[in-house]
Amino acid sequence: MAKKITIEPVTRVEGHGKVTIHLDDEGNVVQSRLHIVEFRGFERFVQGRPYWEAPVLVQRLCGICPVSHHLAAAKALDVIVGAGTGDGLTPTGEKMRRLMHYGQIFQSHALHFFHLVSPDLLFGIDADPAIRNIIGVALKFKDLAVQGVMMRKFGQEIIEVTAGKKIHGTGAIPGGINKNLSIEERDIFLKGPDPMNIDKMISWSQDAVNFFKDYHKKHRELIDTFAAFPSSHLSLVRKDGAMDLYDGVIRAVDAEGKKILHDIDPQDYLKYIAEEVKNWSYMKFPYLIEYGKKDGWYRVGPLARLNTADFIPSPLAQKEFEQFKAYTNGKPNNMSMHMHWARLIETLHAAEMMKELLNDPDLQKDDLVTKGTKVKEGVGLLEAPRGTLFHHYRINDNDQITMANLIVSTTNNNEPMNVAVRCVADSMIAGQKEIIEGMMNAVEVAIRAYDPCLSCATHALGKMPLEVSLFDSNNNLIDKKRS
């Protein structure tokens, strides 16, 4: 009798997902799927609202990376109010937003690595879930847990001084920003008492990269082969090919490193990218039009960004980037678990960029907003912590939003996550008759590498509410296990 295994909900990802794995009578995997059952409807309910509300409204999509939505929406509206893209803003406007964004990347990456991923690495994928969690880390590796908490706090405080609040602020407005950074606010970060200052954050970020590299040396097999698969990669890059998390052109490379999307203007994204709807998931499947639905999918996020960029424009992260690239002889890195490595290099980059910005006197200037000739449509792209984020709005003559299209990072990674689950299913679940915790968690670890943000729920802590259900080919429940 064919069996269907359900792993639900996927824990330690942001939100909920449900994995089903269908086995045939021999125990081979015939199909695996990551079902997204949340439906948030933001694109619908911003319709009719005044356009300048969008950055404040749509950020409510998420409690983990609201800043990304806040900024992507503001960037789309920059176009609408005639401020243009990127360099259209005043230096203070753009740099305040960048500072906010790097603070966001920093806190989100720190949260992900220290709170969500480190338990798997420190205790092992198949360790008892009772200890394999952040509480376990706090008890056994206290310094590391404290570092994670403090790094997150630092990033959030950067967000607070730029957006007005740690979560769901209002800083970015169409055409600019609503405040600058006072010297007092700045000095909290430049000269704060140990450890809450930017120099410590940079050195802790270096420690975190080293921690991962060390771990990699000892567990090469796991890190290099677990859920590894070839794919294309897509991200924004600066016009000169540098990594740029805030603004740039869209570039995609294939698994071998050949450019398949040639640094296109984000305003033109619809000419190159489309989304497929599948009846078993609320989340769409984006793909590159030129390569079709089947082959046009791509990965986004830290791994993709390190694969598309030619260099990182901050010295310490650039050094790490060179090592990262050398490991795959300059070719794209297709190993899912290297996502963590890439994420930590970005954390270091974000810390370096925050330092550069904090030292920039432009942040104390008063010229905050640019406006020009209004147009009816605008697109804003941003490299959110989890990958490329698209916001696209159209307005009517009365300044009301008539159309919104959002492609969020996790949606871009929809197919890659499905492929990652399939990899694990093939190698670890196929042929097994019994569901063991390590096996279930392996599926989760694969998904978690993508740091998916499946809804805006922020269930990062607590006991793992894992439930595995076994169905036969007629969808009858024949077994159920809880951890």
Partner: protein, 233 residues
């Protein structure tokens, strides 16, 4: 000069000008009585009932009741504060008040009252009424989701030529605020801002100028509503 009227609020001795209403007199004596529909200087309407006080065992609206000699007014007593909280809750469930995305947040009197009265989840079911927004004026947006029908705009705002640009339309539960889009087109930016400031909530919003006041600098970010009146609470 006419003689002052002597009265008490919660036992505190107070003085009023003849003909002054209780609400204005209380303010002058440093006593906070919450209000939404009343604005000093315009004719009281007595429509929100938030300013209810107790006089000789009867509930009266402070904004419409003139002070009389020897009145003993009860204001800060659990019964009345409880009623006020209930009114605030009703106002929330009757409209669609999504503070998180409202640019009046931090400057909104209704929101500030909810904070002051420590409103948690309203005890009444949300009505989620279907309301429209009118964005046809080039200067102002009318968001009826947030209108509490206090009539402040109608009672106190005219354009530079003394013409009303706000009016009520329809009746009963369909009653709604309307704007004369054509007349409003000639408003200066200052006048448009004045209209926005008159509205206690976010139902009158200036166009293309949202969220430019940083969090932390808005009216009620740091102190509760009524803090400018030395309160007995």
């Amino acid at each position: 000069m006419s003689e002052k009227i002597k009265f008490t609020i919660d036992g505190k001795e107070c003085f009023a000008e003849p003909g002054q209403n209780i609400l204005d007199a209380a303010t002058d004596n440093g006593v906070y009585i919450p209000a939404l529909c009343h604005m000093r200087g315009i004719k009281p309407a007595g429509s929100c009932r938030l300013c209810n006080v107790k006089i000789a065992g009867r509930l009266m609206t402070a904004c419409t009741t003139p002070v009389e000699h020897g009145m003993d007014i009860e204001n800060d007593i659990p019964e009345i504060q409880g009623l006020r909280l209930a009114i605030i809750e009703m106002l929330f469930v009757e409209g669609n008040h999504f503070c998180p995305a409202c640019e009046k947040s931090g400057n909104c009197e209704l929101q500030a009252l909810a904070y002051r009265y420590q409103m948690m989840v309203p005890r009444f079911p949300y009505e989620f009424p279907v309301k429209e927004i009118d964005a046809s004026s080039p200067k102002l947006i009318i968001d009826r989701n947030r209108c509490i029908l206090c009539k402040r705009c109608i009672r106190s705002f005219t354009d530079e030529n003394g013409k009303n640009i706000f009016a009520f339309k329809k009746r009963g539960h369909k009653l709604q605020i309307n704007i004369d889009a054509k007349l409003s087109a000639n408003l200066s930016d200052e006048m448009a801002q004045k209209a926005m400031d008159i509205c206690p909530v976010g139902a009158i919003i200036r166009k293309e100028k949202g969220f430019d006041q940083p969090i932390g600098t808005r009216k009620y970010d740091k102190v509760p509503i009524g803090s400018d009146i030395k309160s007995v609470i």
